[in-house]
Structures are given as C-alpha cells and as structure tokens.
Chain length 360, copies 2
C-alpha cells in the first residue's frame, strides 16, 4: 500500500493514524465483536464515543460553557437555510459579507427567508481580498451578520474577526475550523461541514450560543431547529454515527499533536513556505492580497496555462493528487488542511521547482 | 477478533464481507493511495462508485425508469418533513395510517404543514396488527397516503400493499426495504434510512416517481426539495460519500447472494423458525397477529419478566447482542435484517431452548 499526498479541497485528507485506527477496529470495536457503525446510537458504547468527541472539541477550541455543540447532517449548505430559519426571530433582515462563491450561496438561500443586506463585497476585485472592518456597512437592526472566514475556492482568509457590536456574528468555518486558535466568544455561532478539517462528509458541527436557541420560524423542519437538536443531545433521530466516531478520532489525533496551538504553528509554516515558493518564482503566481492569503487553500497559476495539464499529470505521477483548481477558476489549488503533512508540502514545492526548471 | 451476532434494531448489523472489503481498502482505495472518503465527491472515481450503487439498487428492486433514486441525508425523520413540503402541492390534507411509534412521528411532523387524516389505526389493539384494506377510510382529495410497511418497534408488517387509487402512496420502508420483492410501481414514493438494510447511519434513500417532483412549498429548504436533489444527481452539495460507498458494497453483496428473491427466501426461513420457536413454547410469546408478523423485527416476552435481565445477560455472554426490546415496550426484540446470518438465528433459538429448559 502506498499513501499519496492528497491536496483535495474536500472531501479531503484525513490523518493516516486516524484511518489506521479505524481500519484496525472496523469489524470489532474495542472487543465488542461488532463495528462501531453497527451499534445503536443509544448504546452506552456509542454515547461514550459521542460525548468524548464533544468534550475533546470543547477542549481543543476552548468553547465556553454557554455554547452548545451540535453534531448535525446536511453540510454547510443546510446551514445556509437553518441560519435564517433559526436566527431571524422577529427581525426581517440579515447582514452578509460577500467574499466568494460560498458567501454567494449562503446569500442566495437566506434571500428566500429575509432581506439580505450585503454589507461588503470583494467582488469588484474578483474576490482577491477580504473587506476590512471599516468597509463593513453594519445595520444595527440586522438579525445577524454572516461571513465566510475562509473562502475555499479562491483561497481568501480574513485576518481579523469582524466586530459587529451587539449583532450576533455567524461564521462558516468549514474550511478553516481547528486550523488556528480563535476566540469562540467573539462569535454567536460557528459551523463547519466536517469533510475538511474534522472528518468524513455527512457530518456538520455547529457551535451556538445558548441564548440564540428557541426562536425558529413556525415552518422550520424539526431537524432544522437547533433547539430540537440541542435538547436531544444531537440525537433527536439517528445521527451519522461513523462520522461522529471518526471526528472523535481526529480530535484525539489533534490533541496528540499538541492541540490547536501546535497545529497552528505547523499550518503557518506549511502556508508560508508554499507562498514563498510561489512568490519567489516568476513561473508561479497567486493573486490574493498578502494579508488575506488562506493557510488552508493555496490557489496558484502557471505563467503558461498551456502547461497546466502537464503539470497536473506529472504531479499525479509523483503521488501529489487533486491539485486542479476549482472548475470556476482553473489553474491549481493545493488544499493543505491539518491532515496534509508538512512533508507533503515540501514534496510539492520540490516538484514545483523541478517543473519550473524544466519548463520556464 | 470475534464477531458476535448483532440483533440491534438500528444502526444494525452489516454483512461481514462488506466490512472486510471496506477495511481492506480503507487507506488505499483501488490503488489510488487514498481512502474513498478522502476523495472529492466530483472525482471520476467517486462518481463511478455512486453511479454503480444506484444502478445496482435499480436492478435489485427493479425500479422503473420513471422513478428517480436519491441519496440524501437526515434519516427517515427528515422525510417526515420533506414529504408534506414536497407532495402537498395545492392540496391541504394528507392521509396517514397509524400502526405505531414511527407512524405517529410521521403524523406529528406532517400535522405542522397540513391537515392529517388518520384513515386507519391499530392503536386500539395496542398496535399488534395492521389495518386491512377494507378498513382504510381513504379520502380522494388527499395529497397522498402515507404508511409504515414495517413498524420496527413492535414488529408489525403489512401483508399487502394498500390500494389507494389515484392518490399517491408513500411508504417508510426504513426497516424492510430489500428484505423481499415488491412491485415499486405500486408506490409513488419509497424512502428508507440506510442504517438497517442498506448501510451506515447518515444516508437516506428516496425512490420517487418523476411526476411528483417540482411542487415544493415556497419555504422549502433547498436541500429538502426533491427536485433540487434529483436535478443535481444527489450532489447539490457534498453527499455522505462513505455511506454511499458502503451502501454500494451492500448492494453488490446482495446481488452476490442471488438478489432480493434469494434473500427473501432466507428471510422467510429465519423469521418462520424464530416465530415457531416462540409459538411452540409456553415460555415465550409474541402478541402480533399471525399475518402481520414482521420478518425483520421479532419482539417476544418471557412468561416471567423477572428473568429478563438474566436472559439478556446470558445471551450477551454467548455473543447474542442487543436483544433488549425498545424502551417503550420492554421484553426482547431480535432484529434479523438481511445482514444477520441464518446461523445467528439458529444460535439464538438454541439459546432460547436452553434457557427455557433451565428456567421454565
């Protein structure tokens, strides 16, 4: 068996140690004679796994006690609906910051439920930066402010947490949760599809301040009501048990690496060396403003786009997989989430140098 | 490693051969150097897996071409909401048959969106039978008729498919899909949470006739609109890829067993011998009408309920796991889904005889 380096934007790389443990116990979890995925979600064994996962996530992110942690289904896209359904209350509008494709999707869905005010947008510069705090045209009457701290497709990451005063701040952290330390108390709600930094697709983590619960619109589906999920300990119905279990293994792996502070240092190094390789070469380029360059998703283009296919084919041959850019932007994109080892980034950089030498 | 016999009602047993294959390729799927769950859902590899799974399910159930097969999230509980949201159209009421706890949950959620007419109920006899065709008080103006062909908790299975004339028939087949041959064309829509006869929790299969698509209520969440999912090939957003892959392995396993006709014969034998063991003993009993006894979920009680704990403890020691009845009814329940081998039923029966000899 050869494991390749996997730069997929999502679903994406998982820590090899996590996969090995899951493999080892796939048919017989802890001597029980059955797989964890064959167990009732209400069994004491699975409940233990589930509670440990929540506890580890709380510890990793230092989540305050007045926040609920929900393990849901449906991905970030389902949150685009749940957020207005749950947070509007008696308000009629919400503020959204538009920094790319994922922001737009969130805006489009929210517009079906309320008036959306786009309070800042980087569309004019083709989403190569994030608006600064002073550019945000905040509305004090907004039910909440929504933004995308890291835009996966174009690799744009906020270098600050917006100050929204008394208006609740909601963040789609699908592609940068757990990548660096954040102050959770600055947010009213954080959510993330699991399939980048947490676990397999099909699990969604929601971290929400308790005072925001219980205001769902009347027609909200039961499973879209955060309070229903919170009151049932995320077991109003059968949760995605295997995904929850794997997320728990990822949290334990992260703790074993030294926690978020330690992975933050590794992520900083990985990103800095890859951006350096791009910036120090006339052959590669990245258009994003220096202070908004994502640590997780690094898009780049070649000086000669006709070489794209060859670059990708040779990378593939060297076990550097899934480097094509998103179909809407082309070029290349290296997603270097927590589970992508630093050696993978080093190997990619060495290949980029080599390719440039041969083709520049 | 010892594999035990697992009579869990859900999440429940998976075929050992499926788990072995998943284990073998968990870190390196088909020589790609990464796990299937680390791949983009839009990669040609995963799309191939997804399409094959749908094709195999179509073949196994002989699904007509004018039905869509959707791979969704949220379990049967999410369908309880989606069904009225998608199928009401310009109607204001729907017919429901009440045969137990799961029917009641479906009714409760639908009542938030329309007038529910309970057109038959077996509550008066404590849900120990299913209403007959002649007992159904069908309303020609109903948007649809909903029923639960197999009630997991009390082990009650319909022995016929209701004839609802021109009114679309919707069935929650979570606990008996693929257990025996059915004529899909008799149904407007069939749905099933995966975690009993299909795969791991977190995946939901919906089979829906095409003419029912496109009538969702205005406030329907994007991911709750069957047409959105159908138009996107179940990839409007990232699907639960690992569950979909495992479901595909289960479908292939089922084909290797000889398909649904073959598993139906095995299921018939398993159920008949277990009910015989119960009926031929004064020590065990099952209250369900003979023609409505479930092939999938076999509840039974002991003549002396004080022996329940001992029965369950001894069964556990013998590797016969998860036999407690649902908390709402007590006693025992053996769920004997497709993946529970006939040898497991034989071992359970032998243990029941032995226990009776020692305690009757």
């Amino acid at each position: 068996m050869t494991r390749n380096y996997n730069f997929s934007a999502g679903p994406s790389a998982l820590p090899e140690a996590v996969l090995q443990q899951a493999q080892q116990e796939l048919l017989d979890w802890h001597g029980n004679g059955l797989s964890i995925m064959e167990m009732s979600h209400r069994s004491k064994e699975f409940v233990g796994v589930a509670e440990q996962a929540e506890q580890d996530l709380r510890e990793l992110m230092q989540i305050p006690d007045n926040y609920k942690v929900l393990f849901m289904q449906g991905g970030a896209t389902s949150q685009f609906t749940m957020i207005p359904m749950n947070l509007l209350g008696d308000k009629t509008s919400a503020d959204y910051i538009n920094t790319g494709d994922w922001s737009k999707k969130a805006i489009k869905e929210a517009s079906r439920y309320c008036d959306v005010n786009v309070i800042a947008s980087s569309e004019a510069n083709n989403f190569t930066s994030a608006p600064s705090q002073s550019e945000l045209k905040l509305n004090p009457d907004a039910a909440y402010v929504h933004y995308t701290p890291n835009e996966t497709i174009r690799g744009v990451e906020f270098d600050y947490i917006p100050d929204t005063g008394d208006v609740p701040l909601v963040a789609d952290m699908s592609s940068n949760i757990l990548s660096r330390q954040i102050d959770v108390s600055r947010f009213a709600m954080i959510y993330a599809g699991a399939q980048k930094n947490i676990g397999p697709a099909g699990l969604t983590v929601v971290i929400i301040r308790e005072d925001l619960l219980g205001k769902a619109l009347p027609q909200t589906p039961a499973l879209y009501d955060y309070k229903v999920t919170a009151d049932a300990g995320s077991m109003h119905n059968t949760p995605p048990t295997f995904g929850w279990y794997l997320a728990g293994l990822v949290f334990q792996w992260l703790k074993a690496q030294g926690g978020v502070a330690a992975i933050e240092e590794i992520n900083r190094r990985k990103a800095e060396k890859l951006y350096s390789a791009i910036d120090n070469s006339p052959f590669y380029s990245n258009p994003v403003a220096l202070n908004n360059r994502s640590w997780m998703n690094v898009p780049f283009i070649l000086a000669n786009a006709e070489l794209d296919k060859q670059f990708l084919a040779e990378a593939d041959d060297k076990g550097l997989l899934n480097l094509p850019g998103h179909r809407s932007v082309g070029g290349m994109r290296a997603s270097i989430y927590n589970a992508v080892p630093e050696a993978g980034v080093d190997t990619l950089i060495a290949f980029m140098h080599d390719f440039e030498q041969r083709h520049a």
